[in-house]
């Protein structure tokens, strides 16, 4: 007998003569207390994300590359990692071509094995898109793809994220329903609710534990 057969055998024996409990999931319990008028979603998101040291900027679909360049300069960041295969990655490339002298761009366009040391030691900042955000918990929804791989939102010490205002939803339940997550999950899906942090020493909160030390969200109000 294999371990699997033994374990399942024991569990089945213990359940013999019983019937499975009915599914009485009451969605109102996870939606009603966590619903907001559309005009308050940004404020709710801002309140929660700023409470955990996230920087949020309101901008537009037209103006964001300029704001991004300005923020990079202010922070004296020497380079930015982008996903060249995404529309926002392309926008950055175009803007940079028109405005010489901006921090260098790096493209995540090859398997991590080919440039792991550079990613870990010489990549100070990154820009990714998001699938939206959750107002109730102050979370960005990040769904890495081939074009925009997982480590972009984790390894560089500063993470810039683009968020379309229209894609801010109320709560996690609504996100799962609207995006039909139950019908198919990607390799990796993430909720990111601030820069990396820990309170493991004496309950004192410290930012920049293992992931990004800074999370900067650019909210595109008109999109």
């Amino acid at each position: 007998m294999s371990a699997k057969q033994n374990i399942l055998g024991k569990l089945r024996k213990s359940l013999s003569g019983t019937t499975p409990l009915a599914d009485n999931f009451d969605e109102a319990l996870v939606t009603e207390p966590w619903s907001y008028p559309p005009e308050q979603r940004i404020a709710q998101l801002r309140k929660l994300m700023e409470a955990v040291h996230t920087e949020l900027h309101l901008t537009t679909g037209q103006a964001w590359p300029q704001l991004l360049a300005q923020l990079l300069r202010e922070r004296q960041l020497p380079s930015l990692l982008i996903a060249p295969g995404t529309p926002h990655g392309q926008r950055v490339v175009e803007y940079w071509q028109q405005h010489p002298g901006l921090p260098a761009l790096k493209a995540y366009d090859r398997p991590v094995e080919e440039w792991k040391a550079e990613l870990f030691n010489d990549t100070p900042a990154s820009l990714t898109g998001t699938l939206g955000a959750i107002a109730a918990t102050g979370s960005l929804i990040v769904w890495p793809t081939r074009e925009e791989p997982r480590l972009m939102s984790l390894v560089p010490p500063v993470h810039f994220a683009l968020l379309k205002a229209s894609e801010i939803l109320d709560n996690f339940y609504q996100v799962q329903q609207q995006h039909k997550w139950a019908e198919g999950m990607p390799t990796n899906a993430l909720l990111i609710s601030g820069p990396s942090k820990t309170a493991d020493i004496e309950q004192v909160l410290a930012y920049g534990a293992h992931g990004p030390k800074d999370l900067v969200v650019l909210i595109l109000e008109d999109q």
């Binding site: 409990l21 999931f25 366009d109 997550w181 993430l190 534990a209």
Partner: protein, 484 residues
Amino acid sequence: MSAPTLIPTVEVQDDFRTRAHKALGDAQLRNNFRSAMDSLMTKRAVAFSDAHEREHLRALGNAIRARALSKLPDLLEQLEQNLTRNGVKVHWAETVDEANDLVLSIIRAHEARQVIKGKSMVSEEMEMNHVLAEQGIECLESDMGEFIVQLDHEKPSHIIMPAIHKNAGQVASLFHDKLGVEYTKDVDQLIQIGRKVLRQKFFEADIGVSGVNFAVAETGTLLLVENEGNGRMSTTVPPVHIAVTGIEKVVENLRDVVPLLSLLTRSALGQPITTYVNMISGPRKAHELDGPQEVHLVLLDNGRSQAFADSELRQTLNCIRCGACMNHCPVYTRIGGHAYGEVYPGPIGKIITPHMVGLAKVPDHPSASSLCGACGEVCPVKIPIPSLLRRLREENVKAPDSPNQVMRGQGSKYSRKERFIWNAWARLNSSPALYRLFGFFATRLRNLTPSNIGPWTQNHSAPKPAARSLHDLARAHQGKQGDQ
């Protein structure tokens, strides 16, 4: 440079009572726990400020866990099917030895030397670090608290906050001694030291190990919560990811994690959500640029199927490992996590450990409680911990020849003398004639009761029967009323 302060270590030798006594005498340890638990209790209370919302959510959390357990074998098979379809290899282990063998064989297949681990209590059950070290494989903890504890050759003292028994000064001394860095008590600087050391380890590691908070059968998804990013690092950077978890961690639907996640992070830390919620449904696909090439899941029993067999004790497996029961426990707060001497301390430890190691190995666990009920009141999935403690006390004194075998090591505190006394007491109280006779002598001979009765008189005055029993007084009272 200030002198390093004393680092108290509670030795995991002796028995529970001796360890508890030592811990009670350690002012530093008690101070560290008291302040941490007070702060965690306050944070939880603030996060659940609406009692109505909280109670309905707890009821839903309980229903979700109970439903999952009511079809556990089917859900485990569904989980395996969906994970396998997604490209994850699923392994089953009845014992911690089997689980370690499985992990070792994966490590050997890759000729790996360095393992980096996110936080996992199941890997603590397996003593994975020790087992791998014996084979010459480095297994390094990457959660800041776990890293500190491992550096000091200790075990976690709390399931969420592993190094909560140390203060910043103690961590400063430890880093200074073991890592050769300059002594600093500044928490930000200490964390940056840890970050630097561990970044290099994430970079080098051949294998990443993690636990699982919820395994979703419907989609074949492993959900992990964390604040630091070490969990994401451990599960994303190394070429191989091995997740280890208990067989009870499965839930039926993806939507089930919505309330459970909210209950977990608010109960544990008072946070609306953790910084990262990491949902893993498979290894790197052929065209993807990062992520592990292989993902394994080890499903461990280790006594859980024993708890499952009894419908009352089965509720132990509702647990989502938030740690709120220990944060609110007057016993845990005073003696700390190490005194329990096992992987899971506090109230949840007292009800789950006997199934893992046998009741005979932890005979004092069920009775190390005042049954104040705080643990049951705060449990996000409504495990009736006080009732389960009373039930384990009963199993603990069951006669060895009892036909009803519920758990390994049951009856470890059985005493013929004690059983005889209770039987006599029961007979005395159920027979009116005997009771009258007893009352007659107990009141007349009241001056003969001993003044020193074992543990009772350590903290209480000796019991002394009244000059006249209540029955006598009542009869006399009725008699007087009859006269009027």
